[in-house]
Symmetry: C2
Subunit: 457 residues, 2 copies
């Protein structure tokens, strides 16, 4: 790990004043995300307020080959924030301006530090919303950088589909804009989607242009419980295969329901459960509900419990968004370890069956949850980060899950990103295409200063 | 232009037998697309039948720094096929196997030479379809390479959204697979979308994995005519802004209707027209029709003329797909020149108004058509390719259209690609991001043998 030279320290202080700090508390806060990964502290933290400042910071660090790590809301689950080679954590949370909203074109531009909840609070009166919703209240820059998704992806897609353009600071400090405001374009390489999911390893995203959607005329949410998780999964698969435009379809196993009830003060039946949300016109929603009810009933699901009052619905989804924290809070001083495989929907049933078998003798608290409409599911493990045996045990289960997913055409990470946690699986999943990723990385960031040690071996 | 050495000629003959040719007729056929761009002949044409053969051809050419140009159906509109530095045209049309269709996962894998019509004919009995439909019966590899779209994009997206994975031969002959079959993934750089739209300049796409859709329960098509194109555009904008999930919404000005009637033996009213298609359940379609009717009426549209019998509907869309050929056929020995701007929908009205003013004194036959739901529209000019004055005149109009589109946040090409035709506008549209595209191009293809002279200056 390289330490910062006196000249660099002085230059960064001169640029940012007290927005540049080497305090241990700040460095500790910036050296990890929310999951089990060990922290690795940056040498300093720089709070940027503009794209131009990010560019200046990157230029200064580049001049001494010092790593830079973008920090948004700190909610990463795969070790993206570990400063494995030291360097400067560039905190973008103060870049929180919503620059432009166009109701006519259903798009907006925000600074990278704006969180998804902040954007939706701002939009509420306009009748618009932004659907992508990882559990955490993540920053939109961070969500773009990890190609995040969440509960609405089955209907609205992920960050891949919903980012129209970006402002990016490159490793040499150059500022570029990618994409544009047209809904489609064939004008050259798709740099937008190259940076979406690049986890700060090619550049730092400082502004994001996003698609927005009209709040549906009718929104209806329901819970349905099942004797067995397999019945729930079978229902979900049929719903997807029929092309029903369901907005949310979330699996919560009974372990999760128990944790969520305790954490969020709810009273859901402790059974394997699908939570649905339907968006559309009154007639459209009625039609979807009818189709889904029939499928669920055929698979042994019990009656729908409706949560249609907005506050009731919000409580349900807020509880679902807090699922990770709910599982972790079951155990004092635990950290969460979340698996994140995504498979073709036709293979979801056998994958979840295999996962359940893997969990049978697991010694730490676990819960299964998933965006089953996409074939994406998680096991959250509440681990003691200081217990090496537990970490080995969970790592082995996680590895088996990932290998099984890859063997059926799936992916090691549906929405959390590679970070440090999935590097070992990248070649298994992508073969020699990983070499091409490395070629691109070396070309764009020849000194290797952008979030080193992430994505690529 | 480098000529092929005797050793290379011999090696390619040994590999391919009579599937390798230097005949002038074949070279002429492979040195241009369907538009006005001047032909530039490759030195030879190689008909590949497998990915491994493409790899061998590329390796042999790479060993002597000879350019390679992928050729699918030959329907490019922006000069992608011009062998500006000679080299070998690799014809993929014999790679026409549909490798795999999964009705359960709504996806398929096809070889690059499969055309969109071939795929849909194959799928018909399965109840599935692939929606992306440029006018021409293009190959799916070519459509991926140009990031094509068509009339259904407003509902189903473009090739960007519908390609799940690719097999690609890199400039050194290495074969890689990008993406996968999971609906979403955060596992590393999005190489799939880097190749989608790269126009053969980074590698040759030999296989494509695509999303499929269930054929809607109800499909309903209608024409609506307007006194003035502005009323039609105003209607289209409102329909998009209301988020009505319309499947197709095509603008055809009266010039186009006249040309299409003559070319396809139809009898549409010669007025500015919107052609609609509605997909959904019976109730859903009825609801969409009601909303759209009200908007259209408010904007002075006349009654819908329905085309609901499948053969009638097919005739309508077939005529629409042949629009380019229809305009060109109005004039003996003409070639088509198609503009292709795409703008934020809120700016579509003023852009089309400006375009109409530009066309007022144009000396060649023209027609305006567009996928107005996306903000994408074309003027097709029927030009005499040997008349330099005409080419200058049309180039000037095209340039003004492009500059206006870029000035309002739009793009120089919505779906046809850059090829040779839009290179001059790339920096105006993307600024310094073009430098990053060049960095990537040089890293992936250091010798510059992949379709040289396209996309980048």
């Amino acid at each position: 790990m390289t330490s910062l030279s006196p000249a660099l320290l002085q230059a960064l202080h001169a640029l940012l004043g007290d927005r540049f700090s080497t305090s241990v508390a700040l460095r500790e806060q910036h050296g990890r995300g929310e999951a089990h990964h060990a922290a690795a502290l940056p040498a300093a933290v720089a709070f940027a307020e503009t794209t131009a400042e990010v560019s200046e910071i990157v230029k200064l660090c580049a001049s001494e080959n010092i790593p830079v790590i973008a920090f948004g809301a700190g909610t990463s689950l795969e070790g993206h924030l570990s400063a494995v080679r030291g360097g400067v954590s560039i905190d973008l949370s103060r870049m929180s301006k919503i620059t432009r909203v166009s109701a006519e074109d259903l798009d907006c531009t925000v600074e990278a530090g704006v969180t998804r909840e902040q954007l939706n609070a701002y939009l509420r009166d306009s009748g618009l919303f932004f659907p992508i919703d990882p559990g955490a209240n993540a920053s939109l820059g961070g969500m773009a950088a990890t190609r995040a998704s969440g509960t609405n992806a089955v209907r609205y897609g992920t960050m891949r589909e919903n980012v129209l353009g970006l402002t990016v600071v490159l490793p040499n400090g150059q500022i570029i804009k990618t994409g544009g405001r047209a809904r489609k374009s064939s004008a050259g390489y798709d740099l937008t989607r190259l940076f979406v999911g690049s986890e700060g390893t090619l550049g730092i995203i400082t502004e994001v242009t996003l698609r927005l959607y009209g709040i549906p005329e009718t929104i209806s949410a329901a819970l349905c419980s099942f004797e067995d998780v397999q019945q729930a999964v079978a229902s979900a698969i049929q719903i997807v295969q029929l092309g029903i435009p369901i907005a949310r379809m979330e699996l919560m196993d009974r372990g999760l329901i128990k944790a969520v009830n305790a954490y969020s003060g709810l009273n859901m039946k402790i059974e394997d459960t699908l939570a649905f949300e339907f968006h559309g016109s009154p007639a459209g929603v009625a039609e979807q509900v009818e189709l889904v009810s029939a499928i669920v009933e055929e698979n042994g699901g019990k009656d729908f419990e409706w949560a249609n009052a907005p506050e009731e619905r919000n409580r349900l989804w807020k509880a679902r968004h807090n699922a990770f924290y709910a599982v972790v809070s079951q155990r004092p001083n635990a950290k969460g370890w979340s698996s994140d495989v995504c498979v073709p929907v036709s293979r979801l049933g056998d994958c979840i069956l295999e996962t359940r078998a893997l969990l049978k003798d697991c010694t730490v608290p676990t819960a299964i949850l998933g965006h089953v409409g996409d074939g994406n599911y998680h096991v959250v493990f509440a681990v003691d980060p200081n217990n090496a045996e537990e970490l080995v045990e969970v790592a082995a289960i996680n590895k088996k899950m990932v290998r099984h997913a890859i063997s059926v055409g799936g992916t090691s990470t549906g929405e959390h990103g590679v970070g440090t946690g999935k590097i070992a699986y990248l070649r298994e999943e992508h073969g020699d295409a990983v070499d091409l990723m490395s070629v691109i990385k070396r070309a764009v960031d020849p000194a290797g200063i952008m979030n080193p040690g992430k994505i690529l071996p």
